[in-house]
């Protein structure tokens, strides 16, 4: 076994320290040491998108990063989006309103991806939405509710800004 390396990163605004082998993935660090179990592992080879988190503001697959690569980084997981325990992020609210989830397993990755997608493209067409979220797999919804939720979130977030 390789040596354990000290790790430190900001996760949802709090400093999280831990220890891990070089091969420890960021996803496993976040789940097991930062206790962000909303980071879901659906494939561990970078296709399904369930493990998507924001690293220094950009959406990335946390299963394709080693924890040591995120040392010092600012990570936001799905747990870090809602402003408080009673209020949902507009994207989370939209997923609920539009039935953008059924089993909920892919949902954290979708929510984080949609937050990042709308940041880059605040007023997307339906076609842009479908391509924008095509890096995340859902097996329950047929994407119908997820597309609708993205549409709603875009409208709400634009309204909030103006």
């Amino acid at each position: 076994m390789a040596d354990q390396i000290p790790l430190s990163m900001t996760v949802n605004g709090q400093t999280r320290r831990g220890l891990g082998e070089p091969r420890l993935t960021l996803a496993d660090f976040l789940r097991e040491q930062a206790h962000c179990t909303g980071v879901h592992l659906g494939c561990e080879h970078g296709v399904c998108g369930s493990c998507t988190v924001l690293m220094d503001g950009e959406a990335v697959r946390s299963c394709l990063l080693f924890a040591v690569q995120a040392d010092g980084a600012d990570i936001t997981t799905v747990e870090g989006l809602a402003p408080d325990d009673e209020t949902l992020h507009p994207v989370q609210e939209a997923f609920r309103d539009c039935h953008g989830l059924q089993c909920g397993f892919c949902t954290p990755g979708f929510v984080v991806s949609v937050v990042a997608f709308l940041e880059a493209n605040p007023d997307p067409s339906d076609d842009e939405i479908r391509h924008g979220i095509s890096g995340n797999l859902c097996r329950c919804t047929g994407y119908q509710g997820i597309v609708a939720a993205t549409r709603q979130a875009a409208a709400v977030m634009k309204g909030n800004e103006s």
Partner: protein, 278 residues
């Protein structure tokens, strides 16, 4: 960095964006004693103007290439090809150097580099060297970069003539590796005759390929005379496809040459516009 690679040779592997290497490690399909992470080597990042063209550090993220205005102006094919690479989350980590050094014959950047005669800057403990695209891709997943060397940057020159560019590919789903793809650049002289034709192909051989029959057929034609569908068919002879679970040899050859014709048509349409504007 290159010191580490020189020290460990075959036992070490440079880690760029990790979007191809890490899945192989996770599935235990490959393993290395040492992984050399390039993600904190600042001098490997960034796009800079270079002699009228651009120099792109190997660790420059695909997302940066996608949105960089210098790249879009001077190497339009890189700009056009990038959205076809995986998905935006992948492009946030994936790098141009990683993609080119990995040399998947179905990936986008190698075919673009080949089409527009990009140049690889390669460093090692003993010095630096440059390798043009035509000599860079040796066989499937194998390039001119030796185990103790590191790809540090790519250089592309701009086209100094009215030109048109187009890129497209056939993929099973949005973001998948291409079954076949084409990167086409067409340049014309003052009389509107084609004097530069660059046609790179992906997914239709063990390495990225140039459709030299297509290029030869285009040279000297008046841009409005070219029949892209017919000329595109010639690409079938330039291919050396490998069949897999997604598409047979025959499919790649047939659909691939149809695609070359379509992408060529798009590029020709662009060049007409450019010339008209200029």
């Amino acid at each position: 960095m290159v010191g580490l690679l020189a020290e460990h040779g075959d036992d070490a592997k440079p880690l760029a964006g990790g979007q191809s290497l890490v899945p192989l490690l996770a599935m235990r399909l490959t393993r290395f004693e040492h992984i050399v992470d390039l993600n904190r080597v600042d001098e490997l990042f960034g796009v800079s103007p270079d002699n009228g063209g651009v120099r792109i550090g190997a660790m420059t993220r695909q997302a940066t290439v996608e949105t960089d205005t210098t790249v879009a102006e001077r190497v339009p094919l890189l700009h056009l090809a990038t959205p076809h690479i995986g998905h935006f989350q992948i492009r946030n980590r994936g790098t141009i150097g990683g993609s080119i050094a990995h040399a998947d014959p179905a990936s986008e950047y190698p075919a673009v580099m080949l089409a527009v005669d990009g140049v690889a800057e390669i460093a090692s403990a003993t010095g630096n060297r440059e390798v043009p695209a035509a000599q860079f891709f040796e066989s499937t997943f194998m390039t001119a970069v030796a185990p103790d060397e590191l790809l540090v940057a790519l250089r592309f020159s701009a086209w100094d003539q009215p030109a048109g560019f187009a890129f497209d590919e056939i993929a099973r789903r949005s973001g998948d590796f291409a079954l076949a793809g084409a990167a086409v650049g067409i340049g014309i002289d003052a009389e509107g005759r084609i004097n530069r034709a660059a046609v790179g192909m992906l997914g239709v051989g063990p390495i990225p390929l140039r459709a030299s029959s297509v290029e030869a057929a285009l040279m000297g034609l008046d841009v409005s005379d070219a029949d892209p569908a017919e000329i595109g068919r010639l690409a079938a002879d330039d291919m050396d496809p490998i069949g897999d679970v997604h598409a047979s040899v025959e499919y790649r050859r047939q659909a691939g040459s149809t695609l070359v014709g379509r992408v060529l048509a798009n590029a020709l349409a662009q060049v007409t516009t450019e010339a008209g504007n200029g």
